[in-house]
């Protein structure tokens, strides 16, 4: 991987410091991002470690971070996380589907998410069931608060396209949530 690709370029100052600085600067965001996708603290750690490993393998002495680094890191983190999810998916997907089934039984009033916390958890679960590209955009915009231009850089999509995907993703989520929590009594959250 060349420097331009990784978003690092040659620089004079100590790369050792800059490497540590990069890890310090981005690890929290990447861990947060990865954790949303893989839904496991340790897996998220693995993902992020892999991302940095990739970065440092491509690291040449004297390199320093360029402005494209963030985009690259998010992209690689997303790909790594999605790979992890796919790799571990067999059991996990089954498990989640099972969980999804339980959520679908909400009509009985027993499995319904009651507290705001439960509903948040439910929406996150559903988010994980969206297409990776949708997850990626929703997370980048709503969690990481990246601008549309930055998201465009990470995903390689046009800003208009991103708006569409984001809307579709949110709408799908809204529909799934509506289906899963059939709570006619609940009014407080209708707005």
């Amino acid at each position: 991987m060349a420097g331009e690709k990784t978003g690092v370029s040659a620089g004079k100052t100590g790369q050792v410091d800059s490497m540590e600085a990069i890890v310090l600067e981005y690890e929290t965001a990447l861990l947060r991002y990865a954790a949303r996708i893989v839904n496991s603290p340790s897996l998220a750690q693995d993902v992020v470690q892999n991302v940095f490993t990739k970065l440092f393998k491509a690291w040449k002495a004297g390199m320093k971070p360029s402005d494209k680094l963030q985009g690259w890191l998010y992209r690689v983190t997303h790909n790594e996380a999605v790979d992890f999810v796919r790799r571990e998916s067999q059991l996990k997907v089954l498990h989640e589907k099972h969980a999804g089934g339980a959520a679908a039984e909400c009509a009985d009033g027993v499995h319904c998410p009651a507290t705001i916390e439960d509903r948040r958890e439910l929406v996150l679960q559903n988010l994980r069931r969206l297409h990776p590209a949708e997850q990626q955009i929703v997370l980048l915009r709503m969690q990481e608060r990246l601008s549309y231009a930055e998201i465009s850089e990470v995903t390689g999509r046009t800003e208009g396209n991103i708006g569409c995907i984001l809307h579709n993703a949110v709408r799908k989520l809204a529909q799934v949530m509506k289906r899963e929590e059939k709570q006619p009594q609940m009014n407080t959250d209708r707005h």
């Binding site: 861990l31 947060r32 750690q45 998410p113 507290t115 509903r119 708006g163 949110v170 407080t188």
Partner: protein, 1103 residues
């Protein structure tokens, strides 16, 4: 913009990400017009908000990489050497190239040396071991010579080969050349290699003969070789010196001993060797010896020179065990060469150059060659020797009370008769806004009209000056004009006494003598209304609810629950002439009223026909109504009937009209206890006796007491179980706890009612028990005084320290009941006593224990209250504890406690007394805050309308919240207050971007608590926002305490006939409560509540 374009940008718009003002206004306009898009936006928004909130919560992952991972990553960073290498390669390519070339050249140098060595070495018969031992890389192609450099070891050479002596030694024995020799004690020779590379001319030494020498030396070393490392440095030095001389004395000179060390080492070796040697076969030795001997002889002869002038110290070896060898014969003292010289007498071999010497060696191999069956010891010795050299190479993380809405607002004076009430109420369907249940409720009512009473009168009957009040407040007041203002004045207290106990019997009698009592009741009722001007007001919007409520009471009271039936019973049992007359009058009046029903048309409609047809049922209903209303008035025959005041029920309020709900808090629980007492006796309590807030506050909601703040507000919102489509908001305000050491000194003045009415075990008996419990609980320095009052007040015990328990208990036991009730006198006396012992900063309090009625005294209730208030302002408070039933005057007692800033509780049992006097003592006596008011401001954007459950008598105006002169409730240490609101949340709001929305509709309501801190005397105010965080979207998932509060409120609402509880039955409450009681199985009050709800259910069915 069309729908498609808008929808594509909808999410982005809702996220507030569109910066273009035109685009934003276009989308907003479109959303206002297009229902479809709005629907989509409304569908998305909650999810978007949810997602937004969900993602705002950090995922369950540490913010940093784990240390191990970080460490492994950091290992990837280039080290210092890498930096140098990079610097060199990038900045100085030439240098790098030169270095590479240098490396290649050196590599070639070494390789070539190896190659050459191996080539020639092989030829020379040198084994690989020897080759490894030698730092050949230094020499490169000239590596042959090196062997000579390190050669300086002492080796013993076969004893039988004297001349050979100069051969071996050293490890790979290499090319060592014996520099000197001397016979060992085995008969062999010590030989030291003394060759230094410097001494040699590489080229000279390059000869085939050297190779031969190696071969020769290897062999004899086996079994004989000494450890190279064992050779003392000194020895080597000596050897070097010797080298310097370049002379080797070989024979004829007995070596000089130069150091003991060397000697010892050698001596040791000798011993070892000696032992090993013995194992060597004689024959071998002989053969070798002979051969070597001969070779040596040859060399000797050829180089016959001077013997080495060595100072090498060699201990004379012991005589060999096997003397068979020829050497045995040689004198042990002779030097190597001297072996021969024994005969030749010091043939001196002067070796000047290695070349010459090497030349001699070739012949030795043959002679020293080990025997084919050489012992293992020999092999290990061989390995040891190599390990010496090889070793060096080997080294690894909530109404305006409607202004009393009614205000008598035209307070529909229904006065005339209950009929009016009935007709009035039946005629209207309501415009009241209880959201969902109205349809159901009407049906239920219709069904009851037909079936329940057979009273199917529809349409308005009679109505007087009814006016539809704007404010939707429903209020009803049935109350005797004054405390003692009832038609008949004072009645001997003794008469009043038996009311309660006979009540059950009364109920049964009632059934058979129902008619009489009904009439009497009706008449009484009429009189009361006429004389007293009792009012009954209602607003149209509450009619159906009102009727339902009346019905509920008639149903409940007639048969079994009519509590004050004692009046009826009294009439029956001891009919007085005038009473009978009154009865007849009442009956006539009733009939008149009934007929008037036919005569009064209204609204162009008449119900005459209907009424005629159903005259009987109507009459029956009238009677029922009369009877029912009778319930609410004090029995004239018995002055001591319980008196309650109905406060009405708070209506729904539109948030847009009034977003503020302000009320003074109360921690009283008397209503619940009173109800419980009624129910224990088998009746449901009069509706006026039920106050929702006191029901709710009776229970413990387990709020955590704040540690520093005076109050903490807890809010929980969940769908209401009994109001379809409504949410219930439970607001809990918990006060801090004051530790015992912080408790103020209590100066208590007990004002005990000892009138004749008190002389019952459940009255004075309970009072005495309660006092005893309280005294036990007091701190020793607290003061207790007891004033008893009946016809007159008397000081029984002046203030005495609680530590003097016997004195206090004695005074308590001495209390005797007799006479009438002169509360006025009693209070004056008690306050005098209290004022006399006033302790500043202490808790000065007058505690009234009474069955609640005053029948003597000239002071009006108002004056009395003023008096209480006056003392309160001076710091003497008043708490009231009610006991017994019958003559109970709830209203007066409650007002007294309110004015006196004290607690109002009803003691119905020892348990309750214990709860109040023991468990809640600190709270009852230590007020942490006064004039506590709560104001709930609802957000119009999220709440359509609200209704507060209970607190009707405590409502304040919005402005009064911050008016600190307004008297409000007090809260004691660790006490909590719970308020419930029914909410209807707003719907169909056009979605707007989140950022704009946050401030406008982020919260449901704001709860503000304002109070005067008792400690500091300052007014403080706290507020808490109610957000979605406090919302639980399913009743089932709400906390058990929330469910308990909802059940307590609903039970109270049903008992007091609230229109909002229409359709609900106590059975429903019991059903909801059952699981809750299981969850809160340890809370005795909850269990008791469940039993009450279940028994109430049974009572209702009985009718």
């Amino acid at each position: 913009m069309n729908c498609k374009e808008v929808q594509e940008k909808l999410t982005v718009y809702l996220l507030g990400d569109i910066t273009d003002a035109d685009a934003i206004s276009q989308i907003r306009e479109h959303l206002e017009k297009c229902g479809g898009c709005r629907a989509v936006a409304q569908e998305i928004q909650p999810t978007l908000d949810l997602l937004h909130d969900a993602l705002a919560v950090a995922p369950n992952v540490s913010a940093r990489l784990s240390p191990e991972r970080r460490a492994s990553l950091m290992k990837m960073r280039p080290g210092k050497m890498d930096v140098v290498v990079e610097w060199v390669t990038k900045k100085h390519p030439r240098l790098a190239r030169a270095a590479v070339i240098l490396i290649i050249v050196s590599f070639c140098w070494v390789i070539s040396g190896e190659v050459m060595w191996s080539f020639y070495g092989e030829k020379a018969g040198c084994d690989f071991g020897a080759q490894l031992a030698r730092p050949s890389w230094l020499w490169g192609p000239f590596g042959f010579f090196r062997p000579t450099i390190e050669m300086s070891e002492v080796v013993e050479v076969d004893r039988s080969a004297p001349a050979l002596a100069r051969a071996p030694h050293g490890a790979p024995v290499s090319d060592g050349v014996p520099a000197s020799s001397e016979p060992s004690r085995h008969g062999g020779f010590w030989a030291v290699t003394t060759r230094s590379g410097a001494d040699l001319n590489p080229f000279d030494s390059y000869s085939g003969e050297i190779r031969k020498v190696k071969r020769v030396e290897e062999k004899p070393s086996v079994g004989l070789a000494a450890e190279p490392a064992a050779v003392p440095q000194r020895q080597r030095d000596a050897t070097e010196k010797l080298e310097d001389t370049k002379e080797f004395q070989v024979a004829g000179i007995r070596p000089t001993v130069t150091g003991p060390t060397a000697d010892d080492v050698l001596r040791e070796k000798d011993k070892e060797i000696a032992i090993r040697d013995e194992k060597i076969a004689d024959r071998d030795a002989q053969i070798k010896g002979l051969k070597m001997h001969f070779k040596a002889l040859e060399i000797e002869t050829r180089n016959a020179g001077t013997p080495p002038r060595t100072e090498l110290t060699v201990q004379p070896p012991q005589p060999p065990a096997k003397p068979s060898a020829p050497a045995a014969e040689v004198p042990l003292t002779t030097v190597v060469a001297g072996h021969d010289s024994g005969e030749k007498e010091a043939p001196v071999a002067k070796i000047i150059a290695g070349a010459e010497y090497y030349k001699e060696l070739p012949q030795a191999p043959a002679a020293v060659a080990p025997p084919a069956d050489a012992p293992p010891a020999d092999a290990s010795a061989f390995r040891q020797r190599f390990s010496g050299t090889a070793g060096k190479l080997v080294h690894v993380q909530k109404n305006a009370q409607a202004q009393q809405g009614v205000e008598e607002g035209e307070a529909v004076d229904i006065v005339k008769s209950p009929v009016a009430v009935k007709g009035f109420s039946a005629g209207r369907t309501s415009s009241f806004r209880k959201p969902a249940p109205s349809a159901d409720k009407i049906k239920v009512q219709a069904a009851q009209d037909k079936n329940g009473d057979g009273y199917a009168q529809n349409g308005p009957v009679q109505r007087k000056d009814e006016k539809a009040p704007g404010a939707g407040t429903y209020s009803r007041e049935l109350k005797p004009g004054g405390g003692a203002g009832a038609p008949s004045g004072a009645v001997p207290a003794e008469e009043s006494a038996d009311g309660a106990e006979d009540s059950l019997k009364t109920a049964d009698n009632r059934r058979s003598d129902g008619q009489l009592s009904l009439e009497a009741g009706a008449e009484a009722n009429q009189e009361r209304f006429e004389n007293e001007g009792g009012r009954q007001t209602t607003t149209p919007s509450r009619e159906d609810a009102y009727e339902w409520r009346m019905k509920l009471k008639s149903v409940d009271r007639i048969g079994k629950t009519d509590m004050p039936d004692k009046s009826a019973q009294k009439m029956k049992s001891q009919p007085k002439p005038e009473q009978a007359g009154e009865q007849r009058k009442a009956e006539e009046k009733l009939l008149t009223v009934a007929s008037s029903v036919e005569r009064v048309p209204e609204s162009g409609r008449t119900i005459a026909k209907d009424a005629e047809k159903e005259a009987l049922p109507v009459l029956k209903a009238l009677q029922e109504s009369a009877q029912r209303l009778q319930v609410k008035r004090p029995a004239e025959e018995d002055e001591t009937g319980p008196r309650f005041k109905a406060e009405g029920v708070n209506p729904f309020v539109q948030v847009k009209a009034n977003a503020f709900s302000t009320f003074a808090i109360t921690v009283d629980t008397a209503s619940f206890t009173l109800t419980r007492n009624y129910m224990v006796k088998g009746f449901l309590p009069p509706a006026e006796a039920v106050r929702t807030e006191e029901f709710v506050n009776f229970f413990d909601y387990a709020y955590r007491a704040p540690e520093r703040e005076t109050f903490k507000v807890y809010v929980e919102v969940a769908p209401s179980k009994f109001g379809f489509g409504l949410d219930m908001m439970k607001i809990g305000v918990k006060g801090k706890r004051i530790g015992r050491e912080e408790q103020r000194r209590a100066v208590l003045t007990f004002l005990v009612d000892t009138s004749g009415s008190m002389d019952k075990p459940d009255r004075i008996g309970l009072v005495k028990k309660s006092l005893r419990m309280l005294v036990e609980k007091l701190n020793p320095h607290d003061l207790v005084a007891i004033v008893q009052y009946s016809s007159n007040a008397r000081l029984v015990l002046d203030h005495t320290a609680a530590s003097d328990k016997n004195k206090i208990l004695g005074a308590i036991d001495a209390l005797q009941c007799t006479g009438s009730t002169n509360l006025e006198d009693g209070m004056q006396k008690a306050y005098q006593v209290a004022a006399r012992s006033f302790v500043s900063k202490g808790e000065n309090r007058v505690l009234i224990l009474s069955d609640g009625v005053a029948n003597l005294g000239t002071m009006s209730a108002e004056d009395m209250l003023k008096n209480v208030e006056k003392y309160k302002n001076q710091g003497i408070y008043c708490s009231v504890f009610g006991v017994g039933m019958g003559s109970y005057d709830d209203t007066t007692l409650k007002t007294l406690a309110n004015k006196g800033d004290g607690v109002y509780a009803f003691l119905d049992s020892e348990d309750e007394a214990k709860r109040i006097f023991v468990d809640d003592l600190a709270a009852s006596l230590n007020t942490i805050a006064k004039d506590v008011k709560i104001q709930v401001e609802f957000n119009p954007a999220r709440v359509e309308q609200y209704r507060q459950l209970g607190y009707e008598s405590r409502q304040l105006k919005k402005e009064q919240f911050r008016d600190d002169t307004v008297d409000a409730g007090e809260v004691g240490s660790g006490q909590s207050v719970t308020a419930l609101y029914e909410l209807e949340t707003a719907k169909n709001v056009i979605p707007v971007p989140r950022d704009i929305r946050n401030d406008a509709r982020g919260y449901l309501a704001v709860v503000r608590v304002r109070y005067r801190n008792t400690d500091t005397g300052k007014v403080e105010e706290i507020e808490r926002y109610v957000t979605d965080q406090d919302v639980v979207n399913s009743f089932d998932k709400a906390s058990p305490r929330f469910k308990l509060a909802v059940c307590a409120a609903e039970f109270a609402e049903i008992l007091r006939g609230s229109p909002f509880a229409t359709g609900s039955e106590v059975k429903d409450v019991a059903d909801v409560l059952r699981p809750v009681s299981l969850e809160l199985s340890l809370d005795g009050r909850v269990q008791e509540f469940l039993r009450m709800a279940q028994s109430a259910q049974g009572m209702a069915r009985g009718e």
